[in-house]
């Protein structure tokens, strides 16, 4: 009778032990589970000879130590996994996802380059400020407001500059011209209630660019002209953000479009000044995150004078929603290149040794 009870006790301990094995990670269980069960059986057989007390003591010790063993085992496993993640992250960092050597020699330390980048913003800001604060009565009616005169500051010269930029493989100074033109077309589309069309065409262009990158990567290399364009973007994706920021003059005009004459407050001038300073700061930053921060900060800063102008006329923050919406759109579009540019492909697009500029 005593032996039979002891045998059942041993069977119970073995069964419970098999169950607790399921608490271990599957890989560990499949590798060591059987061995652990066998070791326990052997030790139980030895304890059986010493009597029931020894069997109970062994079982209790085994189950008592199990949680600590589980914790140790899982900690070890997590540490191992963490090492793998860290290794992966450092590997990703070593192969820059977003592109470029942070100190690429793309002209950001050149005053001449900086001037070229600021030129389109000055070409937009000066006529806007002039027509706003010093109206020219001798001008024909159709050219007296900044929007009327836009074809000169946002149409033909930027188109010519962009053409030159395309021929030269899109150096950084060419991007704001594209933004100015894009802003102009967006303004026209908004006036004619055709924003959906503008967005559709833009989406098609972006889709085609992605397709081009894929084909270049997996099919046959694109012709040199397109490779140079891809290389230009791949060298520094913040160039696309700078291109988006090129539409800032239109952003400012839209934010100040509140039916009150802009020339009656200095806020529009402040916004234009903030725009130009933003580009200067962007041009002097050496790291991409700082460049992007400069553009994001600048875009937000442009809106502050617009809000102040609105408050000046209406006496409250009533109906400033559209300025907030503009700001959100601007920030989203500035960040977009960071998220969507397939830099691994784009950097491959760059012909070897394309230092540019």
């Amino acid at each position: 009778m005593r032996e039979m009870v002891l045998a059942r006790l041993i069977a119970l301990i073995q069964a419970l032990h098999r169950c607790t094995l399921y608490a271990f990670p599957p890989s560990f269980r499949s590798r060591f589970g059987e061995e652990m069960a066998e070791v326990l059986s052997e030790r139980l057989a030895t304890a059986e000879e010493e009597g029931a007390r020894a069997v109970v003591s062994l079982g209790a010790r085994e189950f008592w130590q199990m949680p600590a063993a589980l914790v140790r085992l899982y900690l070890y496993r997590w540490k191992k996994k963490g090492r793998r993640i860290r290794a992966f992250v450092s590997q990703v960092r070593a192969q820059p996802v977003f592109g470029v050597p942070p100190v690429a020699d793309d002209g950001r330390f050149s005053t001449g380059q900086l001037l070229l980048e600021v030129v389109p913003f000055l070409l937009a800001a000066i006529p806007i400020a002039w027509l706003t604060y010093r109206p020219l009565p001798w001008l024909p009616d159709a050219g007296r407001t900044p929007v009327d005169a836009a074809v000169f500051w946002s149409g033909i010269p930027p188109a010519l500059a962009l053409t030159v930029g395309l021929v030269r493989g899109m150096p950084r100074w060419a991007y704001p011209h594209a933004g100015l033109l894009g802003g102009y077309t967006l303004w026209l589309a908004a006036e004619r209630r055709q924003i959906w069309l503008w967005v559709t065409l833009l989406t098609m262009v972006v889709g085609l660019s992605v397709m081009a990158a894929v084909v270049h990567e997996r099919g046959r290399p694109l012709p040199p002209f397109f490779r140079r364009l891809g290389g230009s973007v791949g060298l520094d994706w913040t160039r696309l953000s700078l291109g988006v920021f090129g539409a800032a003059p239109w952003l400012i005009l839209a934010a100040f479009d509140n039916a009150y004459l802009d020339g009656r407050t200095p806020y529009l001038g402040l916004a234009l000044l903030a725009m130009v300073l933003t580009v200067v700061v962007y041009g002097r930053r050496g790291r991409q995150e700082r460049q992007l921060a400069a553009l994001l900060g600048g875009a937000t800063l442009l809106m502050v004078p617009a809000v102040m102008d609105h408050v000046y006329w209406l006496g409250s923050l009533r109906a400033v929603g559209w300025i907030v919406v503009l700001c959100v759109w601007a920030v989203a579009l500035l960040v977009l290149p960071m998220l969507v540019v397939p830099v691994q492909w784009a950097s491959n697009l760059a012909p070897l040794g394309s230092g540019e500029e």
């Binding site: 024909p140 009616d141 407001t145 004619r192 055709q194 069309l197 559709t200 065409l201 098609m204 262009v205 085609l208 397709m211 081009a212 894929v214 084909v215 997996r218 099919g219 046959r220 694109l222 479009d257 509140n258 039916a259 009150y260 004459l261 802009d262 009656r264 109906a319 559209w322």
Partner: protein, 853 residues
């Protein structure tokens, strides 16, 4: 955005799709790339058709999304369908999955056509014929290259023949059409597209031909022939559009719509068919050829066909003078000028198929043509050049009636002058227990004038079936009508006698009808005095009159006359003549005291030459000052009105200015920007403007209603203080001026509602009333109510298609309501100046009288 603009923008997706196709070809080696291209085309076609289908679903409320989408995508759809058809063998060689997709796509297209959607998309009339023409032309032209050249020459000849046929007079065209009607219709439908395909095929054949020797020459000739085809098609579209201006035709757009989408599609096919750098030619073709065709159309609509005709007449006149110098006499016919003086005699560009009217003698000639200013204005014989005194009757003058019969729009065509009738609306809540007003009895069509200044009589009339109009004076107190002596001729379109009558200080009525007879009538008196000016050309309309000063400005044929109602004398304005073109308008305004007249005259045929402001002395007709203005619209001089003795208000399509006449030169001030200091575009951001003048004090009030997305306020400018007041209420406004006048300013973009809230603003004090609510005027067929302020009663009269109501002030309670018997659209109110009665005039309906005392 116009349809042709959308079609031009539609080139962009076509280019992007073509570039996508190139990427597919580049993505893999030959055969695999071709398969990917076929798959890509299937997917893109399905997507494009899906977009069109979605646009149809969205178009249930309005057609805008549908036509926008179809205009944008038509070229791309034509291109991808053509590419698919041209690659049908490759598709057939592909796997069953691809075949199934292609079959489903085909079934989808057929289903859309069967469901009747093809016509709505323009698929049936533009895309499918375009695909057919492109595929056939391409397949044959690429296979038989020598035939392609011959075919292109034939196309050039056929286009020439088609143009000659279309240019011919209707009488000359008829026999051809009777004999070859079907063939001509078919050729008109396919020739424009074929010309484009011919050009594309020749270019591709030339670019893919081997280099060197005779092949180079053949290549050059092919390219020249291709350019000739495309150039001739462009010229044809240009001239078709010029002629469309003369007749409101659709020839140019017809040619364009059958060729431009095919040009885009042909460019897409070229892009895929060519290889290497030659593909750039395909992309350029996709962009440049359709743009050229679209620009030909727009340019054709921009040029002045009158200017072309005048230039041609001038060339003929020079040739006639050269002939006279050589021969000593003018030729009997213009044919004598060819070929020595003119290679061919160019035709006038006014009435298609018509030639010059010419009469020549030994010492004289007259060169004219039947002409009309616009397609809807009457045909006249216009003399372009002449010399000497003719010695016989001009045959052309005798043909005038025949030409009017043939070309005038409204002659004998009842449909043209037929009025639409109003659709009855369900009665509103106030109409149930209301009294019904019956219109004043009339046997013919009613015409109406205005109240006499003392409020005793209202001018009314009836036109009989023969076009004669009898007039009557409605007594404001009794509602009885006493007939005016005689009957008068007014054109069938005249219902308002605004430019035909003027009340004079003594209570007499001055009236002018279409025959140019000017009479003086006294209400309820049999006397009728003919005061037509002697020795004057026919006078036509009263452009401006002034009750207090008793002066009226008449426009005559080539002359302005001032009539003095106190002395009954006429005075010619010797230094100013009216703008000579039909359907062009000058504008004028008297000072309230009648001392001076501001007369704004359009300088040319359109706005390009601006207008001239003449300040004319009312007594002598002398021009005191002449001021050039840049303000004008295409058919009208700047509108003008007096604000003070030194300020006039000038209004043009995009201009609203106060002109300070005390300065030399006069100083303009932009009303919106300089007086109100607002940044609003006149077009689109301004709902309207008005002005009120206190002549004695030399002051005025201007008001504007903003319609900016972020500003819907109303603004008042007071000249005395230079102050601007903003009124920003969430209600409609009623502005009450010091002399008891009231203006209604509905809130922009507000829809008619069961209860409509108004705020009354006293313009003098700036005081605003409590909101008053008007009810009982919905549903109605015109969104704006007609509201009059009855100063004597201190009430508001309100009219809509529901009826007429009276409301108390300031509470707005409805005091009475009348429905209107009979047919007609929304009525408008004409209150008697003394407040004794209301005359209610119903558009396309009767006239009602409502006594108020």
């Amino acid at each position: 955005m116009g349809m042709t603009t959308l079609y031009q923008i539609g080139i962009v997706p076509a280019v992007l799709i073509a570039l996508g196709g190139l990427l597919m070809l580049r993505s893999a080696e030959d055969e695999r790339g071709q398969r990917r291209l076929s798959l890509y085309l299937l997917v893109v076609t399905a997507l494009l058709l899906l977009v069109l289908f979605a646009a149809t679903l969205m178009a249930q409320r309005g057609n805008s999304p549908l036509w926008q989408a179809s205009s944008l995508l038509m070229s791309s759809i034509t291109g991808v369908l053509a590419l698919l058809v041209l690659r049908v063998r490759r598709l057939a060689a592909m796997g069953p999955g691809v075949k199934l997709v292609a079959l489903l796509l085909l079934l989808g297209v057929v289903g859309m056509v069967i469901a009747g959607l093809g016509g709505r998309f323009g698929l049936m009339f533009y895309a499918f014929p375009g695909v057919l023409v492109l595929v056939l032309g391409w397949a044959l032209g690429r296979r038989f290259r020598v035939m392609a050249v011959l075919f292109a020459v034939l196309l050039l000849l056929a286009l020439f023949g088609l143009n000659s046929f279309v240019d011919a007079a209707p009488a000359e065209r008829t026999p051809f059409f009777d004999a070859l009607g079907m063939l001509l219709s078919l050729s008109m439908f396919i020739l424009p597209g074929l010309a484009v395909v011919g050009g594309a095929v020749l270019l591709v054949n030339a670019l893919r031909a081997p280099d060197g020797g005779a092949a180079t020459v053949r290549r050059g000739l092919s390219i020249l022939l291709a350019l000739a085809l495309l150039g001739y098609l462009t010229t044809s579209i240009f001239w078709a559009s010029v002629w469309d201006q003369t007749s409101d035709g659709l020839g140019g757009i017809f040619f364009l719509m059958l060729s431009a989408p095919v040009a885009v599609a042909a460019g897409m096919v070229m892009t895929v068919a060519l290889n290497g750098r030659r593909r750039v030619v395909g992309l350029l073709f996709t962009v440049l050829v359709p743009l050229l065709l679209y620009q030909a159309l727009e340019r054709g609509w921009d040029v002045s066909y009158h200017a072309i005709t005048e230039a041609r007449a001038e060339r003929i006149a020079q040739a006639l003078e050269a002939y006279k110098q050589r021969e000593g006499v003018y030729p009997e016919t213009l044919d004598a000028l060819t070929p020595r003086h003119l290679l061919r005699v160019p035709r006038p560009v006014v009435l298609r198929g018509e030639s010059w009217c010419y009469q020549g003698g030994d010492d004289f000639y007259r060169l004219g043509a039947f002409s009309r200013e616009y397609f809807s204005t009457p045909v006249k014989l216009r003399v372009y050049n002449s010399a000497g005194e003719p010695d016989s009757v001009w045959e052309c003058e005798e043909r005038t009636a025949e030409m009017k019969e043939r070309y005038d729009w409204s002659t004998g065509d009842e449909v043209v002058v037929q009025s639409p009738s109003a659709t009855p609306l369900p009665p509103g809540e106030a109409a149930g227990e209301a009294e019904t007003l019956t219109p004043l009895p009339a046997e013919g069509e009613t015409v109406w004038g205005s109240w006499s200044p003392d409020g005793a009589y209202f001018l009314l009339g009836e036109r009989d079936g023969g076009g004669r109009t009898t007039l009557a004076f409605l007594d404001g107190q009794s509602g009885e009508r006493c007939p005016a002596p005689g009957d008068y001729a007014f054109s069938p379109m005249t219902v308002n006698l605004r430019e035909r009558h003027a009340w004079l200080p003594g209570g007499q009525l001055l009236l002018v009808d279409d025959t140019g007879v000017v009479v003086l009538l006294a209400p309820c008196s049999p006397d009728r005095e003919d005061v037509t000016p002697e020795g004057a050309a026919k006078v036509e309309t009263i452009m401006a009159y002034n009750v207090e000063g008793g002066r009226a400005l008449f426009r005559g044929e080539g002359e302005y006359w001032i009539f003095d109602g106190r002395t009954l004398n006429w005075q010619l304005v010797p230094e100013v003549t009216p703008n000579p073109y039909d359907a062009h308008w000058d504008n004028a305004a008297w000072q309230p005291d009648g001392e001076r007249l501001a007369l704004s005259r359009l300088n040319g045929r359109d706005a390009s030459e601006g207008s001239t402001l003449y300040l004319v002395d009312g007594a002598s007709g002398d021009v005191l000052r002449e001021i050039p203005l840049s303000v004008a619209s295409e058919q009208s001089a700047a509108r003008v009105d007096w604000l003070t003795p030194d300020d006039v208000l000038l209004m043009g399509p995009d201009t609203l200015r106060v002109l300070d006449l005390s300065a030399d030169p006069p100083q303009p001030r932009d009303v919106v920007r300089q007086l109100f200091e607002l940044d609003l575009d006149l077009y689109g951001e301004l709902f309207g403007h008005s002005w009120w003048v206190d002549w004695e004090r030399g002051a005025y009030i201007l008001s504007i209603q903003a319609n900016h997305p972020r500003n819907k306020a109303h603004y008042l400018y007071r000249s005395e203080t230079g102050s601007v007041e903003m009124i920003d209420e969430d209600a409609h406004l009623l502005l009450r001026f010091p002399d008891g006048q009231m203006e209604q300013w509905p809130r922009p973009e507000a829809e008619p509602a069961e209860e409509e809230t108004f705020v009354m603003v006293d313009v003098t004090t700036g005081e605003r009333s409590e909101a008053l609510t008007i009810t009982g005027h919905t549903p109605r067929d015109y969104p704006r109510l007609s509201i009059s302020y009855l100063q004597e009663e201190g009430q508001l009269a309100v009219a809509s298609s529901q009826g007429v109501s009276l409301h108390s002030l300031p509470g707005g309670e409805r005091l009475d309501f009348w429905t209107l018997a009979g047919e007609g659209f929304s009525p408008f109110l004409r209150p008697a100046p003394d407040g004794s009665a209301l005359v209610i005039v119903r558009d396309r309906g009767g006239v009602y009288w409502l006594p108020l005392h």
